[in-house]
Amino acid sequence: MTTQGKTINITLKVWRQKGPGVKGKLETIEAKNISTDMSFLEMLDTINEGRIVQGKEPIEFDNDCREGICGMCGAVVNGIPHGPEKAMTLCQLHMRKFKNEDIIVVEPWRARAFPIIKDLVVDRSALDKIIQSGGFVSMVAGGAPDANAIPISQNIAEKAMDAAACIGCGACVAACPNASAMLFVSAKISQLALLPQGKPEAAQRAWNMVHAMDDCGFGNCTNEKECEAACPKEISIVNIARMNREFIKAGFASHVM
């Protein structure tokens, strides 16, 4: 049944923090006549438009593509990163999933490695640092052999693609009680370890990336599996097992130590 044209009234309890390192708090904001056709971010837009004309500071939140692929958006909604719907980013969540009079608590990603910039906006550059430490194949433009020179079985290519679908949003970190980035790191390590192009450096890559993760202040993985449940792209924790295998291999290979 379509819900087109309906509106609801909601109460937001949203995290407000002026800047990095200062104290923040939840602010209660009433939002009336929210169309259920709106996306969650359009609901925030609507509130912000109203606040701007009233001379109040809008709620800052990150967003860009608004179609679930860039990984820029994200907030913890009622305790769940990206909100209650499975396999969905915050920008894809629609207000028809909420009821009239709902109280909705909205908080930023919380992790030592993700300092808050303002309100719901956090600094996720630690994820980039991990990739810089080894999340690539060492090659330069121009020297590649013909693309069909190495056949790769469809099964392997599909598994690599499953891992490569990670959007780097950081929801896994926000969901983890230890604020570990293991799912993120393992997805990249898996993708490249599965493919022949990535194999020569697989062990070294795992070693470098896991150490970079520690250096950035992410926690350890204790198999809580919250990451997998929160991932909007349904990245599997099988990747963590694969990564551990590469990491152990690296530990044995003396040249990387």
């Binding site: 971010l41 800052e60 593509c65 860039c70 990984g71 080894g134 433009a141 590649a144 290519a157 599909e158």
Partner: protein
């Protein structure tokens, strides 16, 4: 007369000849050059990584919090290359010819041929990076036909080709950042280009976290800042897509080419209300199995299932019997607008048409349809809350891509020496209309395989820039940018930047959109000027310029769009013909096709900024066709 500096000689040899006779910079000297790359999409990311691999020092900037989030990430369908793996008759020549024809003969032969030549290297490069393209059962790369092409030349990675290609470029870029060859500056936006003594000297960037203005001097600047589709407010583009960087370069002397060429994609989710912030693209592939129709009678308000065949108007199938629902994008879009303007549209707004899968489901079964389009149907269901397996989808055209951009020569250099433009930000390869799966190809071609060569002659001829960031020109640019930001914050009016942007978008959509006429264009220019005044007297922007302030970012982009929208209309008015995505209603064939005027308009229109409030100056680059014959399109 503008000179594109296309190398002489036979088409097939131009690029080879250029590469083998151009000036080089020896490896030890490359590290003495500092190159600024603005943008980390396919074009900018690929360029920054590759230039660093060659040994140059690179500074790379982007608006998002990570280079991996550039708008290229959203591309779904695929990337073209002339590999001819399926053995179905493709070739470099054919890809070249299709691109020239698709662009309605308004692009350069030399550039397009080079693009087709390097297309194959791109696929090799991406596979070597670990991009997981789709493969067949034998483990070889799979191809599909896309956007009505007669050969299968499109490589893809599920429905996430742009994401995988961008992550490939991002991985190469990350490697160079790790090695210290690239310094990355995310969350920063270009506010000015600094030009002294006729040479580009660097940029002034605004740090979006703390509002600081930061100058960066360099020996060359590369703008790979994407397209300007968001001038329409509603488009398939990401929120931060803007014309700002290109427009600042325009104001500093770079000519802007063909701003009126925009592409409207026929299959997008229609507008449902004023809260809407974007229009989501539904893949073009849907038209392979979906049938487009509207009720014959405008007063027919029955639900689609209750409208019998005899009361349905399958307008594409009737008008274009041989291509039917698979006519090119611009033709499909224009026809949707036409039937809706006649009052035949569906949905609450009247601006939508049905895309109906019931025949396909009857013929092939629900499972087959689900296997092909399941994810798209889910996406639609989530946004519209309607099940497309049971009721036809509603679709409507939306702005998707902009063919116009900064004018560049064969070396991708703008009219300001030392300032280059790549990717969607330049105008170079798609003429008046772009073929599906060719934007990704062009962005990566420019970044991986063209600019790494074509920047060398400029550096070899001009040496290092002798101006550092403490020079008065930088200080002056910072001061002006600071005053500009403070001015916007001080207006304290009653309208938000978004409200004004939405109004601008409506004007552009109505008068500079899918079908244009002289009267409407003149009217639009007047309305935009009025809106500019409203902005500068009545906008309200909250907060300050010393911390993260998204509303301020938006307002600054809207200010640029307001000026740029006027330039679009001026360009459209100047081009008294129709071609590709630019349809002036006065110039149509009997079939309603764009009718070109090759005698008078077979040229690139490049506009030069002449100061606030003055008409821009027109420059012409004639297009010379030595290898293809100009023909009139027909899809009957």
């Amino acid at each position: 007369m503008l000179d594109g500096k296309i190398p002489a000689g036979p088409l097939e040899q131009k690029w080879d000849k250029y590469r083998s006779t151009m000036k080089l910079i020896n490896p030890a000297n490359k590290r003495k050059y500092n190159i600024i790359v603005v943008g980390t999409g396919l074009a900018g990311g690929a360029a920054a990584a590759t230039l660093a691999e060659l040994g140059y020092n690179v500074k790379n900037f982007c608006i998002q919090d990570s280079p991996r989030r550039a708008h290229s990430i959203a591309a779904q369908g695929g990337i073209n290359a002339a590999k001819n793996y399926p053995n179905d008759g493709d070739s470099i020549w054919r890809l070249f010819h299709d691109t020239i024809k698709g662009g309605d003969y308004r692009s350069r032969e030399g550039n397009v041929y080079r693009l087709a030549q390097v297309s194959n290297n791109i696929i090799d490069q991406c596979v070597a990076q670990g991009v997981p393209f789709a493969r067949d059962y034998g483990g070889l790369l799979d191809n599909r036909s896309f956007g009505g092409a007669q050969v299968s030349r499109t490589f893809y990675a599920r429905g996430q080709t742009g994401q995988q290609l961008l992550l490939g470029a991002y991985s190469s870029l990350s490697r160079q950042i790790g090695l210290g060859k690239v310094r990355m500056f995310p969350r920063s936006e270009l506010v000015d280009l600094v030009v002294v003594d006729g040479r580009t000297r660097g940029v002034v960037m605004r740090n979006l976290v703390n509002g600081q203005l930061e100058s960066h001097a360099g020996d060359a600047v590369i703008l790979a800042t994407g397209g300007y589709g968001n001038v329409f407010f509603l488009s398939t583009n990401a929120a931060s897509c803007n014309v700002g960087a290109a427009f600042k370069a325009y104001k500093k002397g770079a000519y802007f080419a063909n701003p009126c060429y925009t592409q409207i994609h026929p299959t997008c989710i229609p507008v449902s209300g004023t809260h809407q912030s974007k229009l989501t693209l539904m893949s073009e592939s849907l038209r392979n199995d979906g049938r487009v129709w509207v009720p014959k009678d405008p007063s027919d308000k029955r639900s689609p299932a209750n409208i019998p065949e005899s009361d349905r108007f399958y307008y594409l199938e009737e008008k274009y019997p041989s291509f039917g629902n698979l006519v090119p994008r611009d033709v499909a879009s224009r026809n949707a607008k036409e039937v809706c303007d006649k009052g035949l549209g569906v949905s609450a707004t009247g601006y939508a048409v049905y895309l109906d899968f019931s025949d396909a489901i009857k013929r092939d079964g629900k499972d087959v349809v689900a296997k092909k389009y399941g994810n798209l149907f889910d996406m639609y269901h989530n946004i519209i809350d309607d099940n497309p397996y049971e009721t036809p989808m509603m679709i409507y055209p939306a702005t998707h891509y902009t063919m116009g951009g900064l004018w560049v020569d064969y070396e991708l250099q703008t009219t300001i020496p030392g300032c280059f433009a790549l990717g969607e930000a330049n105008f170079s390869d798609h003429g008046a209309n772009r073929l599906g799966a060719s934007a990704l190809m062009q962005g990566l071609a420019d970044g991986y395989f063209v600019i790494p060569y074509t920047i060398a002659p400029f550096l070899a001829n001009n040496g290092n820039s002798d101006i550092q960031k403490d020079h008065a020109a930088f200080k002056d640019a910072e001061k002006k940018a600071d005053a500009y930001v403070k001015k916007i914050l001080s207006i304290n009016g009653k309208q938000t930047a978004d409200e004004i942007h939405r109004k601008l978008g409506q004007i552009i959509w109505d008068y500079v959109g899918m079908a244009r006429n002289n009267e409407g264009l003149k009217k639009a220019i007047g309305m935009i000027k009025e809106l500019q005044e409203q902005f500068w007297s009545n906008v309200t922007v909250p907060g300050s310029d010393t911390d993260y302030n998204f509303a301020l970012q938006k307002a600054m982009r809207v200010a640029d769009f307001l000026e740029f929208g006027e330039l679009m209309a001026v360009d459209a008015l100047d081009r008294q013909e129709s071609c590709g995505g630019h349809l002036n209603e006065a110039f149509q064939t009997d079939e309603g096709e764009a009718r070109r005027d090759d005698d008078n308009y077979c040229h690139v229109a490049a506009w030069e900024y002449k100061g606030q409030g003055n008409e821009p100056a027109f420059h012409k680059e004639p297009l010379v066709f030595e290898n293809v014959e100009l023909t009139q399109r027909s899809y009957k």
